[in-house]
């Protein structure tokens, strides 16, 4: 893209707030009542991480990222945003990284699990859906394992709770941080154009 420095963040917003929220509502409607299972799945991951079962935690988390890439970004988001395909591939990469880390990593023992990391994971699994349900409409609730941002937030906590080594933690956090930044910038843009 030429003269890329002349573009604002809002120039990359390709859809209206109405389209975004209808997409989320439609996606949630199609998947219901999988949300209940997704919350239980998230709680199981937290329990596994808390009890030093790092390998199992990361393998299950890899499955969640594979779904976010396929089920959300490829199947849904790609229809309305050109970045959808790239985001789907990026989620696939995160899934592969988690599998690789699960198979080769050194894990934190159950006695060393970081409380802030567990808090972060809980924010993704419990707080995020509750807040999105309360702030918006119930049909727009964002649940970890089904929507990108709560999954990314929970992943940051679970990676730090289970993984040893700064480099491994950093590598496994890059994509979740990017997904969070992209998602929150999109929401900010949607809010801005509504004002």
């Amino acid at each position: 893209m030429s003269e890329w420095w002349t573009y604002r963040l809002s120039d990359f917003l390709m859809f209206s707030p109405r389209t975004w929220w209808r997409l989320v509502e439609g996606y949630n409607r199609e998947l219901w009542p999988l949300h209940v299972g997704a919350v239980v799945f998230g709680l199981v991951l937290i329990w596994l991480a808390r009890h030093g079962r790092g390998r199992t935690t990361l393998l299950l988390l890899a499955g969640a990222w594979a779904w976010i890439g396929w089920g959300f970004f490829h199947e849904r988001y790609e229809e309305v945003h050109l970045a959808g395909r790239h985001l789907a591939i990026t989620c696939g990469l995160q899934s592969a990284l988690l599998v690789a880390a699960a198979l080769t990593g050194k894990f934190v023992s159950r006695f060393e699990v970081s409380r802030p990391a567990m808090l972060l994971a809980s924010m993704g699994v419990i707080a995020y859906p509750v807040v999105t349900a309360l702030v918006g409409e119930l049909a727009r609730t964002e649940v970890a394992g089904l929507m990108p941002e709560p999954t990314a937030l929970a992943s940051l906590g679970l990676v730090f709770a289970t993984q040893r080594g700064a480099w491994r933690r950093a590598l496994l956090s890059l994509i979740p941080l990017g997904v969070l930044a992209f998602g929150w910038m999109t929401l900010w843009n949607l809010w801005s154009v509504s004002q």
């Binding site: 893209m1 030429s2 003269e3 002349t6 809002s10 917003l13 390709m14 859809f15 209206s16 109405r18 389209t19 209808r22 997409l23 439609g26 849904r76 229809e79 309305v80 945003h81 050109l82 154009v193 004002q195």
Partner: protein, 257 residues
């Protein structure tokens, strides 16, 4: 008055959004509108336009304007776009934002020579690459140019609009409302008394009449997903248009707000 599709028609597979877009096109055509503009860069918009036109059986009634937006195989992209629009051929194909323009403009000229499209154009927006734009307008045979022009973005009055007149090039004014931001600003202020003199009942009509009353502008392409807004926009293509003195007054008034 034309119809843009950026953001407003990108509704994905949402059936209600698609039906709403079809209704906008129905009223657009019924009110005498012809030119609809889209691009492969607009997400699902091309498909939404194509589905709506097919439902309305209006493919032959509209002036179909689309774009090539790739540094790769422009012909393949143009064919994909044509299928999405469900039209036998495009009236106008434009090089979107001058992306790979040397290659794509040559392709579009060839397609025109073969009768596969009627007209060739180039586009830019928000003041980008105006120097390149001017050179292309001077050195190549272009039928249409598309750039940003509205009551607060008037740089093109200096060089590009006079050049378009000199070279007999049609002008499509995009972003008439600056994606709604201009209207949101203007609507904080009361509609001035002179708006009645040019038969405007809203700020949207003031902004659109300012654009289409420029003698070198062929059409503006406001985008909307609301039938009520579409009707309001189309009304700006009727009634009295501002003369030069009124245009100056309009611009000065808006600049003071």
């Amino acid at each position: 008055m034309g119809l843009g599709t950026w953001i407003t028609f990108n509704v994905g597979r949402d059936a209600a959004g698609r039906e709403q877009s079809t209704q906008v096109m129905r009223h657009f055509v019924d009110l005498g509108g012809r030119m609809i503009d889209s691009s492969p860069m607009y997400g699902s918009s091309q498909d939404v336009v194509g589905e709506g036109l097919a439902k309305l059986n209006a493919q032959a009634k509209v002036f179909s304007a689309d774009k090539v937006w790739t540094s790769g195989d422009g012909a393949a992209q143009a064919e994909t776009s044509r299928r999405l629009w469900r039209v036998p051929k495009f009236d106008l194909l434009q090089v979107h934002n001058l992306l790979a323009w040397e290659r794509q403009l040559a392709l579009l000229q060839e397609m025109k020579a073969q009768g596969r499209i009627r007209y060739v154009g180039i586009t830019t927006s928000e003041g980008r690459r105006h120097a390149d734009f001017e050179q292309i307008m001077q050195r190549h045979r272009i039928d249409f140019v598309q750039f940003t022009y509205n009551i607060v973005d008037r740089e093109v009055e200096q060089r590009l609009l006079p050049l378009a007149r000199e070279r007999r090039i049609g002008v499509i004014a995009n972003r008439p409302f600056n994606e709604g931001a201009l209207l949101r600003q203007l609507q904080r202020h009361p509609l001035p008394g002179w708006a009645r003199e040019i038969e405007c009942a809203s700020w949207a009509q003031v902004v659109l009449k300012f654009i289409v009353s420029h003698p070198d502008v062929t059409c503006a392409i406001p985008a909307t997903s609301q039938v009520a807004h579409l009707r309001e926009n189309m009304a700006a293509a009727t009634g009295r248009l501002p003369d030069e003195a009124m245009r100056r007054r309009m611009a000065e008034h808006v600049a003071r707000l």
